[in-house]
Subunit: 282 residues, 2 copies
Amino acid sequence: MRPDQKGDATSREGDKSRAPKELTPAPGTSVRHVVPVMSGKGGVGKSTVAALLAVRLTMAGWQVGILDADVTGPSIPKLFGIKPSPVVAKGGLVPATSRLGIRVMSLNLLLPREDEPVIWRGPLIAGAVRQFWTDVLWGQLDCLVVDLPPGTGDAPLTVLQSIPVDGVVIVSAPQQLTTMVVSKAIGMARRLGAPILGLVENMSGVRCSRCGELIQVFGPSQARRICGSAGIRLLGVLPLDPELSRLGDRGAIEEYAGGEFLGVVASLLEADQARHQRGGRS
Amino acid sequence: MRPDQKGDATSREGDKSRAPKELTPAPGTSVRHVVPVMSGKGGVGKSTVAALLAVRLTMAGWQVGILDADVTGPSIPKLFGIKPSPVVAKGGLVPATSRLGIRVMSLNLLLPREDEPVIWRGPLIAGAVRQFWTDVLWGQLDCLVVDLPPGTGDAPLTVLQSIPVDGVVIVSAPQQLTTMVVSKAIGMARRLGAPILGLVENMSGVRCSRCGELIQVFGPSQARRICGSAGIRLLGVLPLDPELSRLGDRGAIEEYAGGEFLGVVASLLEADQARHQRGGRS
């Protein structure tokens, strides 16, 4: 890969077979698309966006899984109201299933208590992430959404290097401090040759529940600026919505009505696949 | 250390000399107190709290440094408006200095561009954190504030194991999802025998700029509940304040008027030290 390669979905070169050290998933597993959700920055709502993306793709008729690669700070089971329920079957680990039928694997499903700390150094974290790909009986999936932890360390590096990624969704928030760290994540995806599907800006202001005023808690939106300078697509903007926090805390994120724009990810993935099947870039 | 040990500042057992594998700082360095700011969760404002804590201690007449242990997502230089300025002197790295005189070391000061990604696995990250303690010419400090990254992985583990920690400040936010992950960080500090000075709840609602309504964006405060169940002190609560984001983005966090309650950390540290000098716990 050239270091100056654009790395977005429309300009990627090569195909999955050229990826280095790609790992083989569990027997009986077939995953059409792998989509990591990353940010670099913590607390911008990667897990929320990953969850809403999985919900939108499920509503579009896809069979979807979520691999929670945030080993030391996993949020996915809580958002979906899934309690620890480790099932070990012949051949591997069985993912939990949400109300809508989304298959979920997270380290928190394997802990005796959800607030138990996992005090692990990098190699163990990378090992867990690899096992969530190689040892989980994902079955037939149209899309596996991967919820990455903050930073550009072991877990994102392991996912981008050893799982065949179709496209990355970047999550940002308006504060400039955030956009600086998000730029690091965009740079990492490009250096590792992972195509970028687009960016979601989260926490983009809150409406006053009494007077309707828009309060830009983290400052004005930076989404168009980052997308413009990085040359990536703006998928959409999510407000700071107390309803989203409430549903997440109740384990009922599947009931949230927002984030419809995330459905576009399905057509982006299909278009990209069609282009590759035609044997080249259009 | 017993696994059931409370681990807060008033009940710690032993002294610094009993810590395992403690590293020696650079020649000429003498640090009276080391205070890591941790959370487990990303995006709750650890860096903001670390910065405001350093400012309050400086205003109380202390000489303060900040060790930015968030190697892959460093925020401290941006908050203080400090640009990359690596100075290597005989014997080690010279920290940058903020307007108020706070000494700062961060990986972002050593990068050619602030949005350059640092794609490192755990052992390299741990090595950088160790070097920020052993190879930086901190000089005489009353307090070194350590800004930890999210999670309970390499960087927090390295700091808690190899730097003599006087007390940890925990940062939380109201969402229950956050408090679950914050509980993991509290558990980690206790398991490693690090005393906990107390908890700061950040992002505790925003006031509408037009009508004054309090909007609890992330739900009602959970601070008293966590502090009660974990048996730790509530240091104070910071609102979601657009002014704080603005000042942070302008590199002028030292001008922020809030967070006075963080000054109490100085007296907690002094009281703890006095107790130890008297040769035991009161």
